[in-house]
């Protein structure tokens, strides 16, 4: 019977074309609005490194002044000072650890036909690449000795390597960065986690990859200023050396542990470290030392903007309205078919059969509305994607969202169809037949 009801449903689409078109369109618009906003929210809040997000931790150590401090308040910044970063690196906790900050540097291309330009990237330590599963196209990460010496070595992004050297493998070549010759040790393949969770300071959190990487020690040696934000609770003094010695926060540290369970151990170590620093008189506040894994970090740093949430909520409100509208339209559509139902009931169809028939019919409407909604959603996402690089990165539909769209649209249609279908079942055959 399912196939037959399904064919009936398709047929009935054509019976009142205006009413059906309105119904399908209403459903499609509602689905498109909610799905496109939900897709963006989903892409923004999805786990950027699912395979190890519970084993990667950011520490936050509050080094603010004790004046004006209310116990329990959040630290001013989501970064830590250079002093703390170095100490945490030296502590050797976890299986891997890195400290990083955003940098930018001018590059003088080896080819005369390209004007000098600015690269933006990252100054981490060697472990960064393994910790965040950065794929290499050529070469590999720099060595621990490079980290220790602050060697002039650089890892380029695929895009920059192709721009400068074409398809050739540039590993081993020299390139002039900031006026100094750097040796290229590796080229990474396309890599752009959404969001850029490993470095959330500064404005851009989506749609920006790193163009180059140099060792943290090298960057410090060349006195490369941070490309991102820095927060100082007191006058840092003049010059780069003063900044390194100051309590200004501008560095992010990451730990990788062997298992998620090693977190307690790391926390204890961190607490001991902070207690030592407090004894030395460096840390003034008696604040809690925090440790965040990746999902917690994204929540704490409020990566998903309020505007995205607002849009999703309103879009679902809109979908609710579309549903109410569809219920009304379905009622109207079914009410004119009371006679037909009367005949079917009189010929022996049970209420359950009628219920099934009309529910399948509404599902057909939902299906058509869903497909149209999906098309509209793709259009809406393309339109949103044109707004800029940042939004383009998150305005992509993945298979999860495709399935969800399907479920939402058919589910919505069935939900909308329940009341009209139930009403259709209540038709008493005798009255209907009498009036014919």
């Amino acid at each position: 019977m399912f196939g037959y009801y399904f064919r009936l449903g398709v047929r009935s689409l054509r019976r009142n074309p205006a009413l059906t078109a309105l119904m399908v369109l209403t459903l499609a618009v509602g689905v498109a609005a909610s799905v496109s906003t939900l897709t963006i929210l989903h892409m923004m809040s999805s786990d950027p490194i699912p395979q190890k997000s519970s084993r990667l931790f950011v520490p936050l150590i509050d080094n603010g002044p004790v004046e004006g401090y209310t116990p329990g308040e959040d630290p001013e910044d989501i970064q830590i000072s250079y002093k703390d970063a170095l100490n945490l690196l030296k502590g050797g906790q976890g299986v891997r650890r890195t400290a990083l900050y955003g940098v930018s540097a001018p590059v003088q291309p080896p080819r005369a036909d390209i004007q000098p330009f600015n690269l933006t990237g990252l100054a981490p330590t060697r472990d960064f690449f393994a910790m965040f599963d950065v794929p290499f196209l050529h070469g590999q990460a720099w060595t621990e000795q490079d980290d220790a010496r602050g060697a002039d070595v650089v890892v380029l992004s695929r895009e920059i390597a192709e721009k400068l050297y074409g398809d050739a493998d540039p590993v081993g070549q020299r390139i002039a960065l900031m006026g100094f010759p750097f040796t290229i040790v590796g080229v990474i393949d396309n890599w752009m986690p959404l969001p850029r969770f490993y470095r959330l300071n500064g404005g851009v959190r989506y749609g920006a990859g790193e163009e180059f990487f140099i060792p943290l020690a090298t960057s410090i040696r060349h006195e490369v200023t941070h490309n991102g934000s820095m927060s100082c609770s007191s006058n840092a003094g003049a010059g780069f050396a003063a900044r390194l010695a100051s309590e200004c926060t501008w560095i992010t540290v990451w730990f990788e542990t062997a298992s998620a369970g090693d977190r307690a151990e790391l926390q204890t170590w961190l607490d001991n470290y902070a207690a030592d620093q407090r004894k030395l008189g460096r840390l003034k506040r008696n604040a809690q030392n925090r440790l965040y894994d990746v999902p917690e970090w994204l929540v704490y740093t409020k990566v998903v903007g309020k505007d995205s949430k607002l849009q999703t909520w309103l879009a679902f409100g809109f979908l609710a309205l579309c549903l109410v509208n569809t219920i009304g339209l379905l009622l109207a559509k079914f009410s004119v078919r009371a006679a037909e139902i009367g005949v079917r009931r009189a010929l022996g169809a049970s209420r359950a059969e009628i219920f099934r028939q009309f529910l399948i019919e509404t599902s057909v409407v939902g299906l058509v509305g869903g497909v149209l909604g999906l098309v509209l959603a793709f259009g809406a996402l393309a339109l949103i994607g044109m707004q800029g690089k940042q939004t383009a990165a998150v305005a992509h539909m993945d298979w999860q969202m495709l399935i969800l769209t399907f479920v939402i649209s058919v589910g919505a249609a069935i939900l909308a169809g329940l009341l009209p279908t139930w009403r259709a079942c209540q038709v008493t055959p005798a009255i209907q037949l009498k009036s014919q």
Partner: protein, 411 residues
């Protein structure tokens, strides 16, 4: 006109009217909140930057590839400023640390008293060795601009103390010294033993912060008279041109700078208009989304009302015919349907006001949005009453046009 029969007819078949009322309620709730948010964002994006002519302003950043000594860099800054001033159509040039709305710049906490526990405000710091009052075309409301000897050359590598004079924006001055003149007062950068005092010599009407924050912080800026060199490899020049000549000047300014330099350099240019657009891109996108949803909302609600009203007219053809045959005039029928619809819409409107307030409460508590002024709900309610009447008018007119003879023929 009797309301009772309409009401009892409505109560006999509740589903349809409830659905229409629900639609009106949902639309009103969403629409009122959406309109409020759109207006709020528009107001945020329309805030003045303080620049007298934004369309004629742009900036150019220069990074010299030679690793200059601080002294060489200072000489370069002075030379490049002079070069830019010679370009035809340029009205004013200033070497400055940051641009309003560029989302790239520094803040400093400021205090009235260094012994305060917490700073009084956070101010966006514009460090410039030239007159920003002239280059940005700022409006001085009190005090004076910096005198030429007050514009110092400061090596950022060796000095971190602020110069002895500063200019504040009016909102910042009012926040620090409410109901008093700020001129001659001492303001401190930071608090505690590191706090450094400086004297306020002027107050400008407005200069938006580099990040253009929403709320009072966006209006809190301080101008520091220093030509900073030695600490930043990238030098920024703000330029104001004759009205309408910006695009031509931009091209010529870059060429002039390139020609004047023996070493290769990286330059980047951006207009204040572009910065404004980028800063408010998300707000504009949200506005578009909300406006689109609102328009669709209205269309769908209107179509819902029309659809349901048409259905009722069809269902009641015979009754209408009987009423007409018994002496009801066309206007009576018209009035009946309009009144019926008005009652349904009213129920929806009252529900919508409650739902709108509830939705706003949710937005306030979960997303820290602003509270909804009553005006939006009042206007929304009036709008939906009007929409309901208009949408019902067509079907009602058709009902009134039913001739009693044809309508009652099959009875």
């Amino acid at each position: 006109m009797e309301i009772r029969p309409i009401l009892s007819a409505l109560l006999r078949s509740k589903t349809g009217p409830i659905l229409v009322a629900l639609q009106v309620a949902l639309s009103l709730a969403i629409l009122a909140n959406a309109a409020h948010i759109v207006n709020e964002r528009r107001a945020v994006a329309a805030r003045p930057s303080g620049l007298s002519d934004e369309h004629a302003a742009f900036y150019i950043t220069v990074r010299n590839l030679a690793n200059d000594t601080p002294e060489q860099q200072l000489a370069n800054i002075k030379r490049q400023t002079a070069v830019l001033r010679t370009v035809g159509g340029v009205k004013s040039v200033a070497n400055v640390s940051q641009m309003p709305l560029s989302r790239n710049g520094s803040n400093s906490s400021v205090a009235v008293d260094p012994r305060q526990d917490k700073p009084s405000a956070t101010a966006s710091t514009y460090v410039s060795g030239d007159s920003l009052v002239q280059t940005f075309g700022l409006k001085l409301v009190e005090g004076r601009d910096f005198l030429p000897p007050e514009l110092l050359d400061v090596n950022g590598e060796t000095t971190s103390d602020p110069p002895p004079q500063v200019i504040l924006t009016k909102p910042l001055a009012d926040k620090l010294w409410p109901n008093q003149s700020a001129i001659g007062k001492t303001m401190y950068f930071g608090t505690g033993k590191d706090a450094r005092g400086t004297q306020v010599v002027g107050v400008v009407e407005a200069l938006m912060s580099a990040h253009g924050e929403v709320g009072e912080r966006g209006d809190h800026s301080v101008i520091i008279p220093a030509r900073l060199y030695g600490s930043e490899p990238v030098i920024l020049y703000a330029i104001r041109t004759e009205p309408g000549q910006r695009d031509r000047v931009m091209k010529e300014a870059e060429d002039a700078l390139r020609k004047s330099s023996a070493t290769p350099m990286i330059t980047k240019m951006k207009t204040v208009d572009e910065d404004r657009k980028d800063r408010y891109r998300a707000d504009v996108a949200l506005q578009w989304m909300l406006v689109t949803v609102s328009v669709l909302l209205l269309l769908i609600t209107a179509s819902g009302i029309v659809g349901m009203a048409s259905l009722w007219v069809t269902q009641r053809r015979k009754q209408i015919g009987v009423r007409r045959a018994l002496g009801a005039k066309k206007t009576d029928i018209l009035r009946y349907f309009i009144a019926e619809n008005f009652m349904i819409t009213s129920a929806g409107v009252f529900g919508g006001v409650a739902l709108g307030l509830a939705l706003n409460q949710l937005l306030v508590s979960k997303l820290e949005m602003a509270r909804l002024p009553a005006g939006y709900l009042v206007f929304g309610a009036l709008g939906f009453w009007l929409l309901g009447v208009l949408a019902a008018y067509g079907p009602a007119w058709r009902a009134a046009s039913i001739s009693p003879a044809t309508a009652t023929r099959s009875v």
